[in-house]
Each structure stands twice: as C-alpha cells, then as structure tokens.
Subunit: 467 residues, 2 copies
C-alpha cells in the first residue's frame, strides 16, 4: 500500500468528480460523445467505476433528449441502487420505458423502503403488474407498505431487521447472527422484543461487540427507546430522528408490535427536503425541482403569480383612491413604492424566521407570545432606523421637511405592520393546521403593499402636504 | 410486561411532550411555577425524566428573564449532553454564568466534537481558562480540533474511534473490543489501517457480527471508502454524507492518515441548518434564530433593509424620469406597482429554485445552459399567461385597449427579465465563489422593480398612450 494512495486529494480520484463531488462537465460530455458515436461498451467502461449515487446524477444531469439513449447504453449498470438514488421525475421517465418484469427484477434486491419508493409513484395498473411479477414474500412486504399513507413511517421503514428475545445472552445473539444466512446484512442496532413482539429495548451493535458472550442481552440493551408509530408523518419522523440523534428506530403498529425499522440514511434526504422546501414554498415555486417537466412547473408557478396579481390589484385599487393627491404632487408616485417595497422586505424577513422556527419546533405554543413581542421590538427598531434614513434623505433632497416626516412615519408604520403580519399570519395558519410556508407570503405581501400605499398616501393627504 | 405499555400512543408518555415531541405549555408553566415558588426539588423531579434534548428545549423555550433561575434550580440535570443539544445563543448565555472549572467538568465526559462545539464560541481568555482546567489528554484533543478552521471537518470529528490493523482476524477484533475499557462505546463502523495509520477499509459492525472469528478482517471490510479531508467545509461534508448515505466516515489529514471520525448524528443538524438557511438568507434575515439577542437580529436585518432602500431609490429615480407621462395619466401610477410586483414574484420563484438546485449540487456546470433555457421557457409561458389576464382586464376596465396592450407587454417583458435575472444572478455569484443565497435577491429585486417601471412607463410614453 503506497503512501501516495492516501494523499489529501479528495476520495474517488479519476472518476469524473470535481472537488465538490459533482460530475465534471468534461466527463459528462465524454460519456455522451461515446453514446452518440454508438460506442456503448466504451460508455459503460467510463461509467462503471462510479458510485450508484453518481450514476444516478449522471442520468439526471444529461439533457432530457439524450437521457433515453444514455440509459439504454449503460442499462446493465442501472440497478436498483441507482434507481433508489435517482430524482423522482427522472426515475419515472425511465421506468415508463421498462416492462413490469424489468421493474420487478430491479426492486427484488432492495430493502422494502427503497423498493416502495420506486413503485409508489407508478400508476395503479403498472403497480399491479410489477407486484404480480415479484416473488410472494417481497410482494406481501411491499403491499403492506403501500397500505400505509404516503409520506408515513410505514412507507419509509424496512421490514428487514434483527429482533431477539430478551432471555438471550450476547453469545446467543452472535450465534444467531452468524448462523442465519437469510438475515439482513446492514443494520446498526438490534431490537429486543417480548413474546408478543413488542419492543422492550434497543442495543447498539458496539455494545454487543464490547460485551462478553455470557452476559444477558437484557443487561446490555437500553430500555428507553424512541418508538415510531407506523402512521407517523415522515416530517415528524425526521424531527424525532434529529432531536434524539437516532441512527435507527423501531416502528410499531397500532397494538405496539414491532413491524419495521427506519434507519437514518433514509431520513437524511427527508430532513434535507423538508428544511429546504421553505424557500420554495414561500416563493410559490412549488416542488422547485429542476427536473420537473416544464408544464408542471408552469402550472405551479403561474397559479401563484395570478394570485399575486389579484393582491397587486387590491393595492392598485387603494392607490386609485388617492388620484387627486397624486395629481397634485406627482413625486409621491415615485416615492410610494419605496414604502411598500421596504415594508415587504421586512415582512419577508419576519416570515422566513417564523416559518423556520415553526418547522423546527423552536417556536411552540409555550413561547408564542414571547416570540411575537420579540418580533414587534425588532420591527420598531428597524422601522425607526429606516424611517430616519429615508425621512432625512427625502426631506433634504426635496427641501420639504414635511415630505420627509410623512415618508418616515409611513415607513415606520409599514415596517411595524409588516413585522406583525410576518409573525401573526404564519402562526394563524399553523393554528388552523395549514402549512404556514405555503400561503403566508401572499397574505403578508398584500398587507405590506396595501398598507404601504394607504399609510403613505393617507398621511400625505391628511398632513396638509398637498391640497 | 403488560400489553398496554406498548399501545399506539406516542413514546415517552407523561413526560410533558405533545404529539409533535414539543414540550406542552402546561408542563413548561408548571416547572416555572415550581421554580418561582422556590421548590427547586419539585422542579428537578418534574424535569428529570426528560431526554437531554428536551431539557435543552425547556431551557430554550422559557422567557429569557426566567432562564437563569430555571437553570440554577435544575443545575444538576444540565450535563454535557444537555449543553451539546442546546441552541448556541442560549448555551452561550448559560456558560457565561459558569466558572472555567465548571465548564471543563461539563465537557470532560463528551466526545471531542461535542466538547469543541461548547468551547469554540467562548472568548479566547475563557477558552484558555477552560483548557487549563481539562486533563492533558482532553486538552490536547480539543486544542487540536480548535486548530482547524471553523465549520471544517476537523471541528466536527471525534477522535474517539476504533482502528485495527489489516492482519487481524474477526476474533482479534472482538477480543480487542472486549478487553480494552478505555475504548469509545458508541461507534457504527471500524476502520482498518495500514502500519502508517492510513485507512484502507471500513467495516460495518453488522458484518463483523455475522462473520466467524477465524475470518480475516481484511476479507470483511469494504475497500471503497468515502474519506473526508480534515479541512473540508462542513457543508461539503454534509452533502457527501447525504449523497453516499454514510453512517460514519474516516477523517484524514494532509498526509492521508486517519485522524478522526464523523458520525451521521453530528451531520443531521448541519444538513438541516444548511438546507433551511436558504429561506433566511434570501430574505436577508441573517441567522434567523429566534434565540438570537434582539440587538444582533436588528443589526442583521436593518443592514438588509437599508440596502433594499437604496435599490428602491434606484427604482424611484426611474419613475421620476416619467413625471410628465404620469401627470398626463395618473392611473399609470396605480398600475405600475402591479408590473413591478408580479415581476418580483416571478424572479423570486426562479431564484429560490436556482439557489436550491445549486445548494444540492443538482445544478452543476454540466447542465447550466440547459437550466437557463428551461427557466427562460417557463418565464415566457408565465409571462404570456399573466400578460393576457392583466392586459384584457385593464383594457376592458378602463375601456382603453391600448392601455391593456401596454400593461400586458410590460408584464411579459418584466417576467421574462425576472426569470433570466432569477437564474443568471445566482449562477454568476456562484461562479465568483460567493454564496448565491446571500445577496441574489437584492439584485433580482432591483432588476424587477426598475425594469418593471421602466418598461411599463417607457411603453406608455412611446406607444402614444399619453401626450
């Protein structure tokens, strides 16, 4: 083993990845050139050293029109693991091109959770065809998983796990694990169950390895467990894994029996998705997946833009009420978007923080009042600062102190309104069991736009600035 | 073991948690009442059954002014694990109240990574005092960790790990693990190293458990490893863990020697933070932590609002160029925010999607051109749809077809500009090695505001609508 093999260079050298583990454009280009030239063996040879996750990335990253040709060239490298790593949209596209038997072959080697992820998005007819092509054990496992709601623990769990009775010794466990070839290979904890298959304790493998054979497993296991009800939503499962730093957890059915296991590697991408979707939902970008078909993206985004169009019309209606004021002092028309825009920004800030704190369970009914008071305090500080800056600037520039006072007061008022809307709108939606990330920003923008124009033009009218 | 103990009810019943694992307000109230009444023993008794993560939550969730009293009442329950789970801001506040020796005692039982997390945020003087109070081994480990850059793998890793030589058998490994009391207790993989301590393979504990004692460890281990350079940024580490579904990974120094181990439970909160911060950064809300002191939050947000104030002034300057046009047709002043606002929304959508795709390595240099073309296509579709709706509505409402054509054309133009800005601005920032989430939205908003006003008022002027 030579020294140079373990230099500080990133792992997997020469496999077409850049320093951020992304496929290099040159590598992608080279593979596509081979495919286009009809040299499928050459393409396979280049792709073969890649990790399944990178093969999945390669298929995602190529332009849609060349994807089918690439997939057919490297078909024998696209196994269940590659499919399990693939973006949903791209996977659906490829799977549509396969027969039910081919899909069944792909899923046969996978753990239940990965197989379910591939099958659950298919049409019902196709699903039935694939299930018929599976062997009876796999079929039963997948049918059971599909019987649980989408995005529930039952869909995420794998049925492959190690459960042992509490009267066993560490030696019994070791002998059992070594003797039975049918057991799952990758696991991190074993579960200790009573005769009715209720979990009564969990045991890290490292504890077993560090304990003499004669010790009872019941003396090694930890009795405090974090159990996951089979119908729990995956977002709650992810929060629980994160909060208690779990590696794996037992899933129990309605009567408390152990029915499956969820491992952290299946949770990591959910944590990532759930945490990352806030920015997308707040902007109305829907799933926001760049592999989503253009038509779906268009529908998702245009609905939001039309909704925003109506809120903008509300604001426009308010402006029309002040046509006389505007006609007398046309510069107000140039200044009014400042009040609305900066207010909108202040509202968006508060909204982003509130939605995040709700999603991570940092903001709970126990500290809601405190959080609202905190946002109000920040809004007053921000509002006062921005009001002074814009008030002085406008007052001096137009040599009109009253105009400075009017725009400063309007700015302070709108930023305070924005801060309150930014925290109260998502809290109200959460109370109504709606996802605060989804529609909060429509309401908040409507409030900050309308109030910005109303307060500014209203103050301009009543202050004696015009007329 | 009675049946009822394992009903479908959530785990940890009666410990003050609601169905989402959040502390119930009644529970928090009850604890605070006991503290206020001076019944510290009663408070401790209520808090003791909680998991360290829940004790940390409790301390976070109480109003700041009662936090010190609560912490002092339940001081003996606040061990290193509780501190490790605590929000940074709240932790700093409590640690300020402790002596260096108390902090050293707290960190002594923790793995390096958790100890470092507690110590790294302290002032240098305090850090030195705590380090002096630690025993020499712990001090050396922590000093070494602190020598690596903040947010690097070197800070995240723990030095406690199991490394064995490749000539050992499975039996040798088992005997070693059982014999040495000083070894770490919680680990998920062991690393096989050559005589120079370079990692040459990794072995899941489950593989060891399933293999007879006589087999060589080199025949059980997996040679393909994902190694983490010690100076890698934590965000890259998180992406690598996620991409390759890692449970733990070896950390190597510049000469390829094994220096530590990172486990997935330390990565999960980074994945969550990094994924969730996009929404906060895009809105200019800084860290967006509700436990951040009001003054810090104020500074972070007001800087952004002032920056936005200047971009709004740019837009206002454009409007002032069209004072004559506006004076002749005051209704244009009411309509112009619609063009700017809906354009801003379209830009934000594209921006959120692009920033997300960049952060997850879905958008790479290999598919950039394709992604820009895709956003352009969606922008044209969205722009055309919204343009038709607003064009017809305005044309009919004001019985002025030319006004309808002007606002429709301006809307189409601004949404296309917004789509291009939403994808090109973050891509450009990424190329310049700047974080695209941090300042993109300032630029995009400036473009959509200014262009919205310019295109709409410009078209109104040149189309012969006025004058």
């Amino acid at each position: 083993m030579s020294e140079t093999e373990f230099s500080a260079a990133p792992p997997l050298p020469d496999t077409g990845l850049d320093e951020d583990d992304r496929l290099k454009p040159e590598f992608v280009r080279a593979v596509l050139d081979l495919v286009e030239a009809g040299d499928e063996a050459g393409a396979r040879e280049k792709v073969e050293p890649l990790h399944p996750a990178d093969i999945a990335d390669l298929i995602e990253i190529v332009p849609a029109e060349q994807r089918r040709a690439l997939a057919s060239a490297i078909a024998e490298l696209i196994d269940g693991d590659v499919f399990a790593e693939m973006n949903d949209w791209v996977r659906d596209e490829l799977i549509d091109a396969l027969t039910a038997t081919q899909v069944a072959d792909l899923t046969a080697d996978l753990d239940t959770d990965d197989a379910v992820a591939i099958i659950e998005d298919m049409d019902e007819d196709e699903q039935r065809a694939v299930l018929r092509a599976l062997d009876p054990d796999d079929r039963a496992a997948i049918e059971e998983a599909l019987s649980y709601p989408e995005e529930s623990a039952g869909r995420l769990m794998q049925r492959e796990l190690i459960a042992v009775p509490e009267h066993w010794s560490v030696g019994d466990v070791l002998d059992y694990l070594r003797a039975d070839d049918q057991l799952t290979t990758d696991f991190w904890e074993i579960f200790v169950v009573d005769p009715a298959h209720h979990p009564i304790g969990t045991c890290n493998l490292s504890w077993i390895l560090r304990t003499p054979r004669s010790v009872a497993i019941a003396d090694v296991m930890k009795r405090e467990q974090t159990l996951i009800p089979v119908d729990m939503d995956q977002e709650e499962v992810a929060l629980r894994f994160q909060k208690y730093a779990l590696i794996s957890a037992a899933v129990i059915d309605g009567s408390g029996r152990l029915v499956g296991m969820i491992t952290v590697d299946d949770i990591v991408h959910i944590i990532q998705e759930e945490a990352g979707e806030d920015a997308l939902l707040l902007s109305g970008a829907g799933d926001g997946d760049i592999n989503e078909p253009v038509r779906d993206t268009y529908y998702a985004r245009v609905r939001w833009l039309i909704a925003n169009l109506f809120t903008a019309l509300v604001a426009a209606t308010i402006i029309t009420q002040f046509q006389d004021t505007l006609a007398q002092m046309i510069v107000l028309a140039a200044l009014m978007p400042i009040v609305a825009g900066v207010g909108g920004n202040a509202g968006t800030q508060t909204l982003a923080v509130t939605v995040r704190a709700l999603a991570t369970n940092q903001l709970t009914p126990a500290n809601t009042l405190w959080a609202v008071r905190r946002e109000l305090a920040i809004a007053i500080l921000n509002g006062a600062t921005v009001a002074i800056v814009i008030g002085i600037a406008v007052g001096l520039f137009f040599a009109n102190p009253l105009l400075g006072v009017v725009i400063g007061s309007a700015m302070l008022g709108n930023i305070v309104i924005a801060g309150l809307a930014g925290v109260l709108v998502p809290l109200t939606l959460e109370r109504c069991n709606a996802d605060p990330a989804i529609s909060s920003s429509i309401f908040v923008t409507m409030v900050t736009d309308s109030m910005g124009f109303l307060v500014f033009l209203g103050l301009a009218t009543v202050s004696g600035l015009v007329g």
